[in-house]
């Protein structure tokens, strides 16, 4: 059980927990938190892949590491947008909830343009 496999299993478990949190938790903020957990689990899988492919004097294959750096920044941008949406929803409705109070979401008569 070398370090790579251990963290790989840890990553797989985190993906499971993150997915569970994202699917079941009703509060949007907790869903975003679970999404970040899921993301870090996926990045750990990249880390394991990189660690296993270590060669020519490097600790790990630099290509997946570069991909993870790009993916972390993209995941942060996604979290920032999601949180801005939640806070704007709070401003607009005083509540931050995803279950539409009226089914179908948009059949309020005010309609839309």
């Amino acid at each position: 059980m070398n370090a790579a496999n251990l963290f790989g299993l840890c990553g797989a478990a985190l993906v499971g927990f993150g997915l569970y949190g994202l699917v079941t938790n009703p509060e949007p903020l907790r869903k975003i938190l679970a999404f970040n957990l899921l993301g870090s689990g996926v990045f750990l899988v990249f880390g394991v892949v990189s660690r296993r492919a270590a060669a020519s004097g490097l600790g790990g294959d630099p290509v997946p590491q570069a991909m993870v750096i790009t993916a972390i920044v993209v995941a942060f941008a996604a979290t920032a947008m999601a949180i801005a949406l939640v806070l704007r929803l709070l401003q607009e409705t005083g509540r931050s909830t995803l279950n539409a109070d009226n089914p179908g979401g948009t059949n309020t008569d005010r309609g839309n343009s």
């Binding site: 370090a3 251990l6 963290f7 790989g8 840890c10 797989a12 478990a13 993906v15 927990f17 993150g18 997915l19 569970y20 949190g21 699917v23 079941t24 938790n25 009703p26 509060e27 903020l29 907790r30 975003i32 938190l33 679970a34 970040n36 957990l37 870090s40 990045f43 880390g47 394991v48 990189s50 660690r51 492919a53 270590a54 020519s56 490097l58 600790g59 790990g60 294959d61 630099p62 290509v63 570069a66 993870v68 750096i69 790009t70 972390i72 920044v73 993209v74 942060f76 941008a77 979290t79 920032a80 947008m81 949180i83 801005a84 949406l85 806070l87 704007r88 005083g94 509540r95 995803l98």
Partner: protein, 313 residues
């Protein structure tokens, strides 16, 4: 069972424990605190996976900036009335089984690597000398897969535009609603005067060393953003309104220079995003500095949120 593997197992168990805590915690504030700790522990895990660049990025962006965003959101969400009903038991059981299935599938896939594990590391190292870079990850980011890095900056700017577009029409062009510290406290002002100069030096060092050692534009940019946010929260510098031309130029200077060098590559060198022989290192370092500036401003404004009030003329 060497000491290190004991440490690894301990670290992995701790990470999983805190991960479950952030999912299962009843109260959102506790979950966010757990998440910040989780982010820092994860960066130690990345060091154990000998990916120091990623450890820096995870600690800076994953643990730090995301944690700050979450804390700001949790503080504002406390005053939201009415919480949602928790999903019913059968739904949660079904979801649990589904997620366990996904995790198990992923675990078996990870535990069954191919016999001869293919790797690109030798290829990267062979051709790295040409670019004059010492850090292979920076080589991949700026030489081999430069298109991904360039487009990823455009993604960052689009995310910022998306956050800004959430503002009501009346306050467009106004000041982002960063929550400043309630009253002017002398201790925070002291920190905001002492730390930023040091932080800026660290950011420049991280960006500069990124060519040879782990470091680079992302990590330096995050430290820069943290310092800027500290100064604004302490009230020493006012939050800039988003319609100022210098702010937009700063945001765009990194990707524009990267794109310009890329297009110049078509003429001077042999292909788009190719560097003329011998000039690779200076060009890349120039791009990295411009990117550090742009990323710092972009991450700071992403954390500040959409505009909320108009500047009194």
């Amino acid at each position: 069972m060497t000491i290190l593997s004991v440490f690894d197992i301990g670290l992995a168990v701790l990470i999983l424990g805190i991960g479950v805590w952030t999912i299962a915690a009843r109260e959102a504030f506790a979950a966010v605190i757990g998440f910040v700790v989780y982010g820092l522990l994860l960066s130690i895990a990345w060091v154990r996976l000998s990916a120091v660049d990623v450890a820096l990025t995870e600690a800076a962006i994953g643990g730090g900036m995301t944690g700050m965003l979450m804390l700001g959101a949790v503080a504002r969400l406390r005053l939201a009335k009415g919480n949602d009903t928790r999903a019913s038991l059968p739904v949660r059981l079904a979801a649990g089984v589904l997620c366990a299935l996904v995790a198990a599938g992923l675990a078996t896939a990870i535990l069954s690597p191919p016999e001869a594990i293919p790797t690109l590391a030798p290829m990267v190292m062979e051709n790295l000398a040409q670019s004059g870079l010492g850090n292979p990850v920076a080589g991949v980011l700026f030489v081999y897969r430069a298109l991904d890095t360039l487009l990823e900056k455009v993604v960052l700017i689009l995310a910022l535009l998306g956050v800004w577009s959430l503002a009501p029409d009346s306050v467009w062009g106004g000041i982002p609603g960063l929550r400043l510290y309630a009253q002017r406290s002398s201790t925070l002002t002291f920190l905001a005067q002492l730390l930023p100069p040091l932080g800026i030096v660290v950011a420049i060092y991280m960006c500069w060393v990124g060519a040879k050692e782990p470091g680079g534009a992302f990590q330096g940019g995050t430290v820069l953003a943290a310092m800027w946010l500290l100064v604004m929260i302490a009230g020493l510098r006012s939050v800039p309104s988003i319609d100022q031309r210098w702010l937009r130029l700063l945001l765009v200077v990194g990707p524009v220079i990267f794109l310009a060098i890329g297009i110049a590559g078509m003429v001077l060198a042999t292909a788009f995003l190719a560097y003329p022989a011998g000039y690779a290192k200076p060009l890349i370092v120039a791009v990295e500095f411009a990117l550090t500036l742009s990323i710092g401003v972009a991450l700071g404004l992403l954390a500040a949120g959409p505009p909320e009030r108009v500047q009194r003329p």
